[in-house]
C-alpha cells in the first residue's frame, strides 16, 4: 500500500496537507495529536509586514460551511521565518509550504524572497485569491495578465517552487490556470473560498464587519471537484485540490478529479482531529477499493473517459 506522493521532488508520506488559514503555524495542533502524520502543512498566509486584519465579526455560519473575513492577520514574514517556523520545526519533521499574500507586486516579491533562506519550506503557495483584503489578494487572481506577470516577478526572485492558489470567483478557471502556468508556476492549488455574504434578518445588516467574506466548507466540495477536473486536463503542472474536503473518501475523489495532493481546510475548525482521522482512514479505504498506489488514481476520472 503506497500513500506517498511527490511534489517538486519532495516526497510527502501522504497527500494530506492542512490548508492555509485553518491550521495556524501548525505547532498548536501538536497539542492535540502528533502532526508528523501529515504529508505537509500550508502555513498561515503571510505578508511582508504584520497585519491585524479585519474588525470583528469575521465569521458567519452557513449551511455546510462558514464565511470568514479574517483579512490576513499574521505577524509578518520576519516573525514567521525567525519565530513561527522554528517553533513548528520542534514538533514537525517534514518540510512545509509557506503561503504568501500581498497588496502589490513589490510586496509579494519581497515576502517570497524572505523565505529563500528557509530550508524547512519546500514550496511557496502564492495566494492571489484572498477575497478579504481591500485592493489586493484577489485582484491578482481574476485577471490573466496581472496573474501571469505576478508569477513571473515572483519566480525571478524565488529559489523555491511556486504554487499559485487560484480563486473560484472567475468566469474561466482554466484560462487563469493556463496563464499562471505560462508565467512559470510550478504547481496550482485550487480552490480558494467563494465570495459570499450573510445578513442578520433582525438588524437587516451584513453579519461580517466588512460585509463580504470567503465561503468554505463541505458545500464547496462539488464546485472544487469540477474545477480541479477541468484544470487538470488543461495544464501539465501538478495540482493540489481543496475545497470542502472532510473525509478520506473526499481525498480520493479529489485525486481522481486530477489532484496530486489535497488540502483540508474548514474541517480542521470543527474537528480538531480531522486531518489525523483522514490520514488514518486513507489506507483502509484504499484497501477496500483495491487501490495499492495512490498515485495510480490521479486523474482517473478523465483518464478512463
Amino acid at each position: 500500500m503506497n500513500t506517498s506522493v511527490t511534489l517538486f521532488g519532495n516526497v510527502l508520506k501522504n497527500p494530506v496537507i492542512p490548508a492555509s488559514g485553518t491550521f495556524g503555524f501548525g505547532y498548536e495542533f501538536a497539542e492535540f495529536y502528533d502532526i508528523n502524520c501529515l504529508g505537509s502543512i500550508s502555513l498561515k498566509g503571510t505578508t511582508l509586514l504584520p497585519r491585524y486584519g479585519n474588525p470583528l465579526p469575521r465569521i458567519a455560519e452557513c449551511p455546510n460551511g462558514l464565511i470568514n473575513a479574517i483579512g490576513l492577520q499574521n505577524p509578518g514574514v520576519e516573525a514567521v521565518v525567525n519565530e513561527e517556523i522554528p517553533k513548528l520545526k520542534k514538533v514537525y519533521s517534514s518540510k512545509v509550504i509557506a503561503n504568501v499574500g500581498g497588496h502589490s507586486v513589490e510586496e509579494y516579491v519581497e515576502t517570497v524572497k524572505a523565505f529563500n533562506i528557509c530550508d524547512d519550506v519546500f514550496a511557496i503557495e502564492l495566494n492571489i485569491s484572498c477575497p478579504n483584503v481591500t485592493g489586493g489578494g484577489m485582484a491578482f487572481g481574476v485577471d490573466e495578465n496581472i496573474a501571469r506577470n505576478l508569477v513571473q516577478a515572483v519566480k525571478a526572485v524565488s529559489n523555491k517552487p511556486i504554487i499559485v492558489k487560484l480563486s473560484p470567483n472567475v468566469t474561466d478557471i482554466v484560462a487563469m490556470a493556463k496563464a499562471v502556468e505560462q508565467g512559470g508556476a510550478d504547481g496550482i492549488s485550487l480552490i480558494n473560498t467563494l465570495v459570499g455574504m450573510r445578513i442578520d434578518v433582525k438588524s437587516g445588516k451584513p453579519i461580517i464587519s466588512v460585509k463580504k467574506g470567503g465561503y468554505s466548507g463541505k458545500g464547496l466540495f462539488p464546485v472544487a471537484v469540477r474545477m480541479v477536473f477541468e484544470v487538470a486536463q488543461a495544464v501539465s503542472i501538478p495540482i493540489i485540490g481543496m475545497g470542502g474536503i472532510s473525509t478520506a473518501t473526499d481525498v480520493l475523489e479529489m485525486m481522481m478529479a486530477g489532484a496530486s495532493a489535497v488540502m483540508v481546510g474548514s474541517q480542521n475548525l470543527i474537528e480538531p482531529f480531522a486531518c489525523q482521522k483522514i490520514v488514518n482512514d486513507l489506507p483502509l479505504l484504499m484497501e477496500k477499493l483495491n487501490i495499492t498506489d495512490i498515485n495510480q488514481i490521479i486523474g482517473r476520472a478523465f483518464k478512463n473517459a
Binding site: 491585524y52 470583528l56 469575521r58 465569521i59 449551511p63 455546510n64 470543527i270
Partner: protein
C-alpha cells in the same frame, strides 16, 4: 482541550428565552473556561461558558438568539452531544478577598461558577446582575444562596432601574477586584467606570474555538489576542475597545 461525548440530562427554560442545559461527562473545567457543542445539522460548533461544573455534571446557560440556539431548545434528555471542553483561560482569584461579579443578561452564566468558587473558599461575593426586564431574570435564588445580590433592569420592572454599570455606581460598593461578563458595550462601560482593577470575560463569533482560525482576534495593549485561546478572560487594563 478535550473532545468528549456528553449526555444531556435536562434542558429547560429558566427565564424568558433563557435555558439551562445539564450534561454529564468527565472533564476538568475552571471558572471562565468554555465548551463548544456540536449541534445536529449545524456546521460550526457553538461556544458556551461554564455555568457550573461539579461531579461530572456540566451546567450551561444559553439564550435563544438564532437558529442554532432555537434548535438547541429541542434537544431532549439522553441525547448525546459531541463536545470540545477545557477551552480558553480562567478567572484569576489569587489573593482576592472581596470580589464583585458583574453580569449583563446571559453574561451572568460564567459568574455563577465563579461565585460558587468564592463561596466555597469562605468568601461571600457581591453579584450585580443587569437584565432588560423582570421576565429575563434567571438563577436569582441560586445566586442569593452564595452571594449578596443586586439586580437591575433596564425598564425598572425589578430592582434598580438601569443597567449593570448603573447598579454598580449607585450601590457604593467596596471591593478589591471586579469580574465582568456581558456584551462588548457593557464591558466597555465597566472598564471606563471601574478602571483597570478587574477581569473581563469577552464574547466573539468564533469558527474553531481553539486558536486555529483567527476569527475572534482582538487588539490589546499586549498585541493581538484570540478570545478563544488567550481569553476569553482578559485583564481589564489590556482590552482596547
Amino acid at each position: 482541550m478535550k473532545q468528549l461525548k456528553m449526555t444531556v440530562l435536562s434542558n429547560r427554560e429558566v427565564g424568558l428565552n433563557t435555558y439551562e442545559m445539564k450534561l454529564q461527562g468527565a472533564t476538568t473545567l475552571k471558572s471562565g473556561q468554555f465548551v463548544e457543542l456540536l449541534l445536529p445539522n449545524h456546521y460550526l460548533r457553538r461556544p458556551f461558558s461554564v455555568g457550573f461544573y461539579k461531579n461530572n455534571i456540566l451546567t450551561i446557560l444559553y439564550k435563544v438568539l438564532g437558529e442554532g440556539t432555537l434548535d438547541m431548545t429541542l434537544i431532549k434528555p439522553n441525547e448525546t452531544l459531541d463536545v470540545l471542553s477545557e477551552l480558553g483561560n480562567s478567572f484569576d482569584k489569587t489573593n482576592v478577598k472581596s470580589p464583585i461579579l458583574i453580569g449583563g443578561g446571559i453574561g451572568a452564566a460564567p459568574l455563577f461558577n465563579l461565585a460558587n468558587d468564592f463561596f466555597e473558599s469562605g468568601i461571600t461575593p457581591t453579584v450585580v446582575l443587569g437584565f432588560k426586564t423582570k421576565s429575563e431574570i434567571f438563577y436569582l435564588e441560586k445566586f442569593k444562596k452564595i452571594a449578596n445580590v443586586i439586580v437591575a433592569t433596564d425598564d425598572g420592572s425589578f430592582g434598580i432601574k438601569g443597567n449593570a454599570v448603573d447598579a454598580v455606581t449607585q450601590s457604593d460598593l467596596s471591593y478589591d477586584k471586579y469580574y465582568a461578563c456581558g456584551v462588548m458595550p457593557m464591558l466597555k462601560g465597566i472598564q471606563k467606570t471601574l478602571g483597570n482593577n478587574g477581569e473581563l470575560s469577552l464574547e466573539a463569533r468564533m469558527a474553531c474555538g481553539f486558536g486555529a482560525c483567527m476569527g475572534c482576534s482582538i487588539q490589546t495593549t499586549k498585541g493581538n489576542r484570540r478570545v478563544c485561546k488567550e481569553g476569553a478572560i482578559f485583564n481589564a487594563a489590556e482590552v482596547i475597545f
